[in-house]
Structure formats: structure tokens, C-alpha cells
């Protein structure tokens, strides 16, 4: 295939091009000088572009400077990125209206006006393509993002000068603009080489006073790109980087950089690929209207890794390691590409000048441990429905289980039948939504057992039959119960960890011919905390099932086993060819896995359920990250050998 012909546009014609685009109904967003920096803002024409300006950049330092020529695109990237336009810092996701016991949820639409991005650099286009992988090429589509993406026209610019902090050449994202643009300009003396990639771009060229580019102009373009490539201010050795980082989770450099890092989050906010967000219900007093909003978040904040008051990444070292391992390692497993495009923003805009390229090379060069193998990325086929909008569902029944735990029986709202181990997001207006595992389901109902510990779970546990709540889901991976067809299966549960196993147990118990040998070991805090007691007895009476219960605290009325579930396990046979499903607090699961290690049960025979902070459940918000995984889409059920390098590691 021959490349589409390149054209030559005289310098003065750029204004004409911008006018044509505006005339076609596009709003123009482009670089412009704002006080102390070149930012991206709405512009009307060439006059507002940074003609004759450039920037000087160093770690923690950015200054505007006059050029000695009148180049229009003679600067490197600044503090803003196109992310602000496609994934705004704050936006409503769902509008909620409460009307008595009735609740209505409706998707907040983006309705973006057609927008032209003027001056998109190679690294920036690569960053947009990376965010596409998050928002439109995962298990779900973020419809707000997708709408904005479709409404944009991309006028890219090849870089012929490199910035002090640029390393796109190392990341393979530049300086030549890759696919995905409508028009690409290369600024040379007196004008631009123009290349069109799309019909929209080609149509614009047609209407311009542009001739075919001469060979000398094309040579000058290539020479400019070459010299840019040769003069990159930074360099990064990316060879085997993901495995190297995960092989060095205890490298001393993490604590060293944490002494300098402020955990301010600026690096993540300026990074054009960072996508984490938080979701909050915004309402006023007892008003009937609630807006469920998202806003940019950062792994440097404490809330990012907090669930039920426990902080998974308390130290700055944990948070810096999360940022760097995510960007340069986990991304590869999650999205099949590095999360860094080499734009240098995080280096310039770190208030204390921390340089990612320097940190990474320090880890590589100071006694690194061997690299490890990371999981391969999954391929997803995005579902079309909006995963963030709940469906209103009626509470059919509320069954008290223990003094602080109830089972909500809720009317089914989706055709998709939940699998054991999956979860739904349950929500109440003005309070927010929380992930709750499915504890049982039938033709037209779903069951969720929940303990009213947090504010949201407390409000949910106070619902009465007939009242409504919002449900979205089901999400996540499931227990592979089919393994019990050929292997003895042991389910080990601690506390409310029994709830996701209960739906598995119901299916196992109902099909004794398929699942002939099932054992359930369950540890509760006290006799009063035992869940599903009648069901436990019923399962135990079946020839195919064997149920043992133990309690931590003895009481006068309890005549059964006393002690942790591990104590019970020690007295049982743990067959090597058996399969094991484990769910409970992480300390309990650790001890159980340790026992299975001692017994010699292979890690690939064990499955555990992991809990992390979740906001979207659809793979967008980044809150549930667990090393190279997302708990909401790769989990919550994981095979032990797939996570053994992070399971129990502080900071993950």
C-alpha cells in the first residue's frame, strides 16, 4: 500500500485550516499561553497559539521562554493533556431521583459538541489510544468517554525538537505521530507538511490551498523527526521492565524515594494515561435528587486503598511503588502495553522533581533480584449496556441471619444469571453503592447476605420488604465448581466469607451425581454468628456433602468444635488431588494456604476470593487494583498460583 500523498501547506494557510474546521461546526481546543505555561484551552484561531514561545523543563521546573523564531509548535508538552477533554476531572455518571419508596436511576449523558484537538503530539495520541483500552476495550464501554472520543477530530503535530524531559523514542510512541489522527502537520521553515489519515482529514486538505509536498520537504520532515529522536532529553531501558519491577518489590530504592515523595498525586494527575477515579453521591440535605459523580483520583491518596477502615497502602513507599509498578509493569498485563508514553510530564510537574526514568534505572542497576513472569493480558468483548447505571429492584424478603447480618432477597432485574462467586453493586440514593457477593439466586430473585458494619451496608441492612434499591451486575469471576466433577472439593470459609461460597454450595448440593464428594469447613466467631444454620444441617445430611463448623469463642450452649478453622483443618485429610475454595479474612486465608502448603497441595488446586476497594466494578476506576490484576474483572476469585507473588505482600 502506498502511503497517502503528503501535501505542503504554507504557514499563512494554517489560519485557513482552523477556520475551515470551525466552519464545519467544531470547537477548537489547542495550545495557548496562560500566564506561566502553555495549556490546552478553547481557541478561535492562530493568534491564540503560542507563536514564538517555547518552554524550558527540568525535574520540578517549567518556565516559558521566547524563541528567537516564530515557530507555532516550538514547545514540548505542558501541564494539561487531552485527558481533561475526554475524561474530565469531574463529571456526573448517574442521576438518581427518589420518590417515596420509588427510585429512578438514569445515565448522565455526555452529549459532547464536535471538538477538534489542535496540536496533538505523538506521545499524546498514544496516550489517547491507551485510555481507549481502559474505557472502550475492556469488559464494558464507558459511554461518556466513548461519546467524546467519537466527537473529536484530531489534528496532530510531529515533533521536530525534543524537550528536556521527553523519552517517547524509548517508549516507542514517537516522535513520529502514529495511527489515529485525522490530519498530521510537521512544522518546517515556511510551512507544514500535511498528511491525512482519515476521510475527514483528506476532505479538509482538498479544500485547502495545498499542493503536493516536494521531495525536499519530505526529506526535511524526516530529518526533523530524526534529529528529534536523537536529542531526547531522557532515555529509558524498557527491556523486561515489568518482570524486573515485580521481581523487586522489596528493593531498597522504594523506601529511599519515599523519603522524597510527597504523595501529592501530581504525577498521576498530569499523566495522560492515568485513569483512576473516585465515585461519590452528591446531594443536599434531604433532597430527592442525587448526582452520582466521579472525580479524578490517585493511588497516592489514602482513600484509594481503604476498605472498611483498613488502608492497604499506608506508607508513601507503598504508594510510590503502586504508581511505578502500575505504570511500567501492571499495565502490560492489564492492557497489553506500557502505561507510559514518555511525555515527561510527571517529571516536570513533580513539585520535588522526582524523575521516573532515574528511579527505574536505579532499580535496574542497584543489585536487582531476578525478574519474574507476569500474567498475560486477557482479551475482552465489551458488553454494550452501561455498567454504571443501576436498575431499581424491589426487596422481596429480609431474612435475619445473626444479630448484625441479614439476607436480602431481591427481585431479579437482569437476564444474566449470577454465577457463584460473582458480585453485584447494591446502591441507595445519597449513600452510594457497594459490592456485595451473591449468596444465592433463583429464576426471579437474587440473594445478598450483608453485615451492617459500614454506613452503606448498615443502610442496606435496614431495608424492608417492598422498598427499593439499585442493583447493577453481575460482575467478576466465579468459583470453578465444575472441577468438583472429577476431584474431591473442599470449601473453607471464615465469617461472612461463607456468603459467596453458599451459592456454590447450593449448586453442589443440588447435583450429587455430578459433585459426589464435597466438604465444607466453616469457622464463625461464636455460635451466635453462625450463618445459614438450617442449610448447614441440611447439606450435612446429604451423602455427597460433609459439613464441619467451628467457633472461635466457646459458649455454654455450643457443643461443637472450638478454635479457628485451621485447627479443624489440621484434623482432616487434605487430598493432594482435591480442589479447594477459600474465602474469609485475609489473615485466615493466609493460614489456610500455609496449611495446604504443608500438606503439599499444589497452588493451582486452590482458589481464593480477594476483596479490595471497588467503585465502578467495570474495570474503569482503577480502585480495585491488585498488582497486575483488577479485582472487579479478573477476580474476585483467583487461582492461588496466579497471585502468589503478591498475596499477603504488604502494600498490595
Amino acid at each position: 500500500m502506498t502511503p497517502p500523498p503528503a501535501h505542503w501547506l504554507e504557514r499563512d494557510e494554517l489560519g485557513h485550516l482552523l477556520a475551515l474546521i470551525r466552519g464545519d461546526g467544531y470547537r477548537l481546543i489547542g495550545p495557548t499561553v496562560d500566564g506561566a505555561a502553555i495549556i490546552y484551552d478553547e481557541i478561535e484561531g492562530v493568534d491564540e497559539l503560542p507563536v514564538g514561545w517555547t518552554d524550558e523543563q527540568a525535574p520540578g521546573r517549567y518556565r516559558l521562554r521566547r524563541r528567537d523564531d516564530d515557530a507555532i509548535f516550538g514547545f514540548a508538552v505542558g501541564p494539561h493533556s487531552w485527558k481533561q477533554r475526554l475524561f474530565p476531572a469531574r463529571e456526573p455518571l448517574v442521576q438518581i431521583r427518589r420518590d417515596g419508596d420509588d427510585i429512578r436511576f438514569s445515565a448522565a449523558r455526555a452529549d459532547p459538541p464536535p471538538t477538534a484537538f489542535i496540536g496533538v503530539r505523538a506521545c499524546e495520541l498514544a496516550a489517547i489510544e491507551l485510555q481507549d483500552r481502559v474505557f472502550v476495550r475492556g469488559p464494558f464501554v464507558d459511554h461518556r468517554y466513548a461519546a467524546r472520543r467519537e466527537a473529536c477530530l484530531i489534528i496532530a503535530v510531529n515533533c521536530v525538537e525534543a524537550g528536556e524531559l521527553c523519552f517517547c523514542a524509548s517508549m516507542g510512541t514517537g516522535p513520529r505521530v502514529g495511527p489515529g489522527y485525522d490530519l498530521c502537520l510537521t512544522e518546517l521553515d515556511g510551512g507544514f507538511v500535511v498528511e491525512a489519515e482519515t476521510e475527514a482529514g483528506a476532505a479538509l486538505v482538498q479544500r485547502l490551498d495545498a499542493r503536493a509536498a516536494a521531495d525536499a520537504e519530505l526529506t526535511a520532515r524526516d530529518a526533523g523527526l530524526d534529529s528529534c529522536r536523537q536529542t531526547m532529553g531522557r532515555e529509558l531501558d524498557t527491556e523486561g521492565l515489568p518482570g524486573l519491577l515485580f521481581g523487586n518489590l522489596d528493593h531498597p530504592r522504594w523506601t529511599e524515594v519515599a523519603e522524597r515523595c510527597l504523595a501529592c498525586g501530581n504525577c498521576t494527575q498530569v499523566c495522560p494515561t492515568c485513569f483512576c477515579f473516585d465515585v461519590k453521591d452528591v446531594s443536599l440535605l434531604a433532597n430527592a435528587e442525587t448526582a452520582r459523580e466521579r472525580s479524578w483520583d490517585s493511588c497516592f491518596g489514602q482513600d484509594h486503598s481503604t476498605i472498611h477502615g483498613a488502608v492497604f497502602r499506608p506508607a508513601i513507599a507503598d504508594r510510590y511503588r503502586q504508581w511505578l509498578t502500575h505504570k511500567f509493569a501492571s499495565w502490560t498485563s492489564q492492557f497489553d502495553a506500557s502505561g507510559c508514553v514518555g511525555c515527561g510530564r510527571c517529571i516536570a510537574w513533580c513539585p520535588v522533581g522526582i524523575d521516573v526514568t532515574e528511579e527505574l534505572s536505579a532499580i535496574r542497576s542497584q543489585d536487582p533480584k531476578p525478574a519474574i513472569e507476569l500474567p498475560r493480558p486477557q482479551v475482552w468483548w465489551p458488553r454494550e449496556d452501561d455498567p454504571l447505571v443501576p436498575a431499581p429492584a424491589r426487596v422481596l424478603e429480609v431474612q435475619p441471619e445473626t444479630p448484625d447480618t441479614v439476607t436480602l432477597v431481591i427481585e431479579r432485574t437482569t437476564a444474566v444469571r449470577e454465577e457463584p462467586g460473582q458480585f453485584n453493586m447494591l446502591s441507595l440514593p445519597a449513600i452510594g453503592d457497594v459490592p456485595i457477593s451473591v449468596s444465592g439466586s433463583g429464576e426471579d430473585f437474587v440473594e445478598h447476605t450483608l453485615r451492617g458494619v459500614g454506613r452503606a451496608t448498615k443502610a442496606l441492612s435496614e431495608l424492608r420488604p417492598g422498598q427499593r434499591l439499585g442493583v447493577r451486575g453481575p460482575f467478576g469471576s466465579r468459583w470453578p465448581i465444575e472441577l468438583a466433577k472429577d476431584h474431591p472439593l473442599t470449601l473453607i470459609a471464615g465469617g461472612v466469607g461463607l456468603t459467596p461460597l453458599r451459592s456454590a454450595m447450593q449448586q453442589l448440593a443440588a447435583n450429587p451425581d455430578d459433585y459426589p464428594a464435597v466438604r465444607l469447613f466453616y469457622g464463625a466467631r461464636s455460635a451466635a454468628d453462625i450463618l445459614y444454620d438450617t442449610e448447614l444441617l441440611a447439606w450435612d445430611s446429604l451423602p455427597s456433602c460433609d459439613v464441619s463448623v467451628t467457633v472461635d469463642q466457646a459458649s455454654r450452649r455450643w457443643l461443637g468444635n472450638i478454635g479457628f478453622v485451621t485447627r479443624l483443618l489440621r484434623r482432616k485429610e487434605l487430598p493432594l488431588d482435591g480442589r479447594y475454595f477459600i474465602c474469609g479474612p485475609e489473615v485466615m486465608m493466609r493460614q489456610v494456604l500455609f496449611l495446604l502448603d504443608e500438606a503439599g497441595v499444589p497452588k493451582s488446586h486452590r482458589f481464593v476470593s480477594i476483596e479490595r476497594n471497588m467503585k465502578c466494578a467495570a474495570g474503569f476506576c482503577g480502585r480495585c487494583q491488585y498488582g497486575p490484576y483488577f479485582v472487579c474483572k479478573d477476580g474476585p476469585i483467583f487461582r492461588h498460583d496466579h497471585i502468589d507473588f503478591i498475596f499477603g505482600q504488604p502494600g498490595f
Binding site: 506561566a36 517549567y62 481533561q84 498525586g265 446531594s283 440535605l285 479524578w296 491518596g301 452510594g432 452503606a456
Partner: protein, 247 residues
Amino acid sequence: MASCDGCQLTLLDCEDELLALGEAVDIVHFPEASSALRPQGRFDLTLVEGSISTPEQLEEIRHIRAVSHALVVIGACATSGGVQALRNFADHEQFMRVVYATPSYVSSLADSTPISAHVPVDFELRGCPIDKAQLLEVITASVVGRKPGIPNEAVCMECKRRGVVCVMVARGQTCLGPVTHAGCGALCPAYDRGCYGCFGPRESANTGSLATWELGRGRSKADMVRAFRLITGAAPAFEHESKRHEP
């Protein structure tokens, strides 16, 4: 308690929302708005501004705690001791002699301290003054039963979401944003000024690194004492940092 009463005014400033507020809650005691006497009894939510600066205040806050279901303390004084806590760094007897003609009439504690130093508090709302939207959020959260949506993060996060160009990086100014609790919406940086730290230190405030960076680019130790010893200078992280740079 000891304060300028400015945070109470924030509540009065909620003009548009005041009506709805009156419908949602029953306001029984509000000195800045009404001189009605404090009723006896128990309260669902008590907002307290000001620091503990006198023996009488110490007594009173214990009583308030005992009769309140939820105690929310508001403002820099109540959460860190306030600007009046600058006396904690000096000889308070000497201050009294300079300021008052007859210091023996003044009964005052040596230090001005946050409420949480004396009684357990349910929520600390920071700021000098507090932000009106955040105050409404705390009241709303208590009415509907959610966790107050007050992010526990650095001012920088608000600054970046707002699209402000960083004054540390692009203008070379000292800014306490990275170590300060969010809430103001990055007000000062939005007007090209570094953050003064009104909302007090955030969790994980790495003040040492910020000071090292500033000293490295030519600021003096006296500059560091001034930067960290201002409105919330008695908050432990800031106090510790300013003391490190004292002559």
C-alpha cells in the same frame, strides 16, 4: 470556643440552602444567629468552632461531648489550635503582660489546643474559614447517614482537577499544597499564590521533603519557619517542621 466566630458565619452564609437546612434539621442553639438560650437536653449533632484556650472552655467541651450524639468540630482553631496557638511557641505569661493591662484578670491556659486533644470527636472539618459546601456536606451526611464526602487528600489534587498551573513548578513559589489537607478547592494557587496551609496537614504530610527542596532552591531556614508556622502552625506535622528550622 476560642475563635473569631467566622466559621459560624459560614453557616449563615448558606443563604440559598438555609431554608432547606431549617426543614431538614431542627437548629436549637446557634449563638451567631440567635440569642436564644441554650436548651438543656441531648443533641443529635453538635458543631463546635474554636480552640480550647481557657479552663472554662475545657469544662464546657466535656459537657458538650457528654450531651451530643455526634460532635463535629469545625475550622482551623477547633482542629489544630488556630492562629492563637502561635502562643504555644512562646512564653504565654510574657504575651499576657504585653497585651493586657491587668493580666491577673485573664484566665487562660498556656497552650491553645484542638478539641480532639480533650474529647473524642466524630469528624474534624478543616479550614480557615471552613468551606460552605463542605459544611453542608457534613450536615447532609449526618442527615442521610453516609460518610461525609470530604476527600482525605492533598490540595494538589484539587489544584490539578481545576486545571491550575502549579505555582511551585512554573513560578518557583513555595506552596504548602502537597502537605495540606484539601477542601478549599486550591483557592490560592488559582490566584497564582502558594498555599498557606489553612486546612492543616494532611495524612502522610512529608513536610521534611518539601522543606529540603525549598532550601535546595535558595529559601532560608527563616522562610521555612514562617511557611509552616501560620494558621495551623500548631498542628503536629507543621509544628515539628517549623521547629526543625528554628535558629
